[in-house]
Symmetry: C2
Subunit: 472 residues, 2 copies
């Protein structure tokens, strides 16, 4: 029975894309709805998102941000006020044109992102330098009519947070852009056990309407990069289009400087791929919906009593569950392995005789016997170790799949193998590389110390090092 449960998953090597979809469904993270590209976030999947929300809300509030909620619908005319922005998003918009009773006078766009709504609101609430900065964040869903969709990675609807801030000075706005990038990077390191590569996006890849876009990029086991979050510095572009100005201390009218930034449920896709294996999901402990599962191997009174005692000792400190259902232990083991629960505590009659439990850790599939007297006490360090080892494994993968080259043939060879490849290039090289290899510019790394003189692709003067990869 346990075998059958597991055998329904495609192996990663056989078909990585199918493995991914299998895990999404079998680990009960999501299911499909009747509208293509719109998914149902099931309890186990949504709980991961709630843990990310809780972590980020704490970070956002500590850094002086307030949560707000702005409307779902945007009048088409308002959307068209900032030229670059509308060009970037217009093809993907879903529009409300009618109600049960009558057609609307103006088409209303379901927000694909809320810049224009925040701009209109900022204009109405800011008069003086005393009103600045405004640092807002919104948790919501957005709709973008994407053609090709995959659970969590690309959907017609997805959940995200979008931060929107306005500032009196350019420097403060630029600092905000970098600070939020740093919070996202730390989210990866401390919660998701994912080493993000950070850097600036190229002109071609930046956000529609931004002066500069920064990104966190994760590397998937198939060698493809996944853009996992972005922060944008807008300068005064939106402020001028939407007339967001304030009176400064010298009573002069000034435009504000603006930022926005966001991460989405795409992070769930990153967690699934970076850590998962052929038995299913492997959850990093600090973001795991269930950190510890207790499986009594017998329904004997004294086994159940001891299992309950352990459960009661753990439940105020960890997300722990005990499975006393009538499924077989083997079935349960497979099920929690599929769901990637970091720690499983098994307790049977034999364990009880030896005053111990059997403790199985998901990430390395190891079992060990632990004295009953120690099982509570070892948990903090055990979870910390699991997190650290998972992070290190992911980090090792990134390092062994990152190359810096100064030769275009070598570049193509490395890109074909999967992973990140950086090279000093002229700006014309980006399009050529994409056409030749399907690799796109992921980021311009902050460290540009190895910049060479000549671009191997164009023969022109190299202007910057760019990190390339094929990407989702």
């Amino acid at each position: 029975m346990a075998k059958k449960f597991v055998s329904t998953i495609t192996s990663q090597t056989e078909n990585f894309a199918q493995w991914y979809t299998d895990v999404c469904i079998k680990a009960e993270l999501m299911s499909y709805s009747d509208v293509k590209g719109f998914i149902i976030y099931r309890p186990y999947g949504y709980a991961i998102w709630e843990n990310i929300q809780q972590y980020l809300n704490t970070q956002f509030k500590q850094t002086g941000h307030d949560n707000v909620y702005l409307p779902l619908l945007i009048p088409e005319s308002l959307f068209q006020k900032e030229k670059d922005h509308v060009e970037g998003f217009a093809p993907e918009t879903a529009m409300v044109t009618t109600t049960g009773k009558e057609d609307l006078n103006e088409r209303l766009i379901i927000r694909p992102t809320s810049e224009v709504l925040f701009c209109t609101h900022f204009k109405s609430v800011v008069q003086s330098h005393r009103d600045l900065p405004k640092k807002y964040n919104q948790w919501c869903s957005v709709v973008r009519w994407e053609k090709t969709t995959r659970p969590f990675l690309r959907g017609k609807e997805f959940l995200w947070q979008e931060g929107h801030t306005i500032h009196a000075s350019e420097q403060e706005a630029k600092e905000e852009t970098m600070n939020m990038l740093s919070i996202y990077e730390t989210l990866g390191k401390d919660m998701l056990a994912i080493p993000f590569i950070t850097g600036q996006k190229t002109e071609k890849e930046k956000f529609a309407g931004a002066e500069a876009t920064y990104s966190i990029e994760a590397l998937m086991p198939d060698g493809q990069a996944l853009q996992s979050g972005t922060t944008h510095y807008f300068g005064q572009g939106f402020a001028k289009a939407f007339d967001i100005s304030y009176r400064d201390q010298d009573n002069q009218e000034q435009f504000v400087y603006q930022t926005s930034w966001g991460v989405s449920t795409r992070l769930l896709g990153a967690i699934i791929m970076v850590h998962g294996d052929d038995d299913g999901l492997v959850m990093p402990p600090y973001v795991a919906p269930t950190q510890i599962v207790i499986v009594p191997i017998s329904s004997d009174d004294d086994v159940m009593k001891e299992a309950t005692t352990i459960f009661e000792s753990l439940k105020d400190h960890y997300r722990v569950m005990m499975d006393t259902s009538d499924k077989s232990p083997g079935w349960k083991f497979s099920e929690y392995e599929m769901k990637g629960v970091p720690v499983r505590i098994e307790i049977g009659r034999r364990d009880l005789e030896h005053k111990q439990v059997t403790l199985a850790t998901r990430y390395n599939r190891q079992k060990q016997q632990v004295p009953l007297s120690e099982v509570i006490g070892i948990m903090p360090e055990l979870l910390s170790t699991i997190h650290q080892k998972m992070y290190e494994k992911a980090q090792t993968y990134v390092e062994s799949h990152t190359f810096h080259v100064n030769d275009y043939e070598l570049f193509k060879e490395k890109i074909a193998l999967g992973g990140y490849v950086s090279m000093s290039v002229h700006e014309d090289a980006e399009a050529i590389i994409k056409a030749d290899t399907q690799a796109t510019a992921r980021v311009i790394p902050f460290d540009q110390s190895k910049l060479e003189n000549t671009c191997p692709v164009t023969g022109k003067k190299a202007s910057q090092i760019i990190l390339f990869a094929r990407a989702y």
Copy 2:
């Protein structure tokens, strides 16, 4: 300056509806967007909703519910599967018909409520009695194309939670319906300081598709009732329309029994009206975004130092802020009165000399001197007393505006004065009463012990006591 700030609010007696709108705007709870009926939840307003969310999430999880997220859009054909339901909601639906690129094959409805989506999902995840119950909750926004809109009370878009559960037995589903009603009633009593009247809705007033609807009703100071939350028992109606069945322990196919229940940001409207006065909002302490504000009356070093010490001692236990801006103390007092902050701590040079602070409580506009050594220690009891007094005041208002009559002329007299009036009636009376008095059936009270034989409206046999009121 302080005077000017306050004088911009209409008084309740002059124009209650205008007073309400003024408070919504001036207390910075919301502002209007460019689309009529869609509002912006500003930080101070959204924080109230977040506190309600946190309270309810704890209650929901303690009673075994899981959060999920289902799609924003519903295919029109799916929506039409349950006859009563579609008739109730169809006129109010907003429909997506086109994207930036092409028209859709089928119109998609923005969810006005998610019963049909949950039904489809339940059908796909439930096979056996082991899969039951499923107890889900969703936090989201919904869209209903209402004609007349008012901030928080009735909007084209509003925020809410919608619980959806399925059960193997009728009894369990009925218990769920009543348990959730009880959680809502307790939310009123423990968080919002609002005494809700509970009971069952009449056939005419029940939810489209429900077998029975229960409601929490609050009484506003203008004598009108506000339906503030509902729970629905669906029986097997949706289950049969959507074929949600499971195999029971005897391997027989059975339909599930179903419930749904929700409260919305309408609760903010209830808080504003039940507690507010001519100086603005009066926030009940346990749901208040800011529970305590500290206003140093002087910028002297020792005053600031003492104020900071008090702030530091309070900040880990309460939602507290200190206002050190360069606005005048009088301006600040008005501002925090407008925002209804329950407790204000003033500290000036004179206070410091007497080793005391001045403590102002918003709900009764009283000031008292409190020794510095006691100001931290008294807080738990102070907040509890404020909450209790606010609840009692609201309760007294309800009691003094609730009448039980057995005479239709007396009924009309009492209804004209505002408040609840209950009477033993035949089912035909409801429509007559509405036509005569604009009063609607709020609930059928659980206590029917005073049921009379004859309905004074129709002269027919009275079947039940109904509580009537004019309502929002």
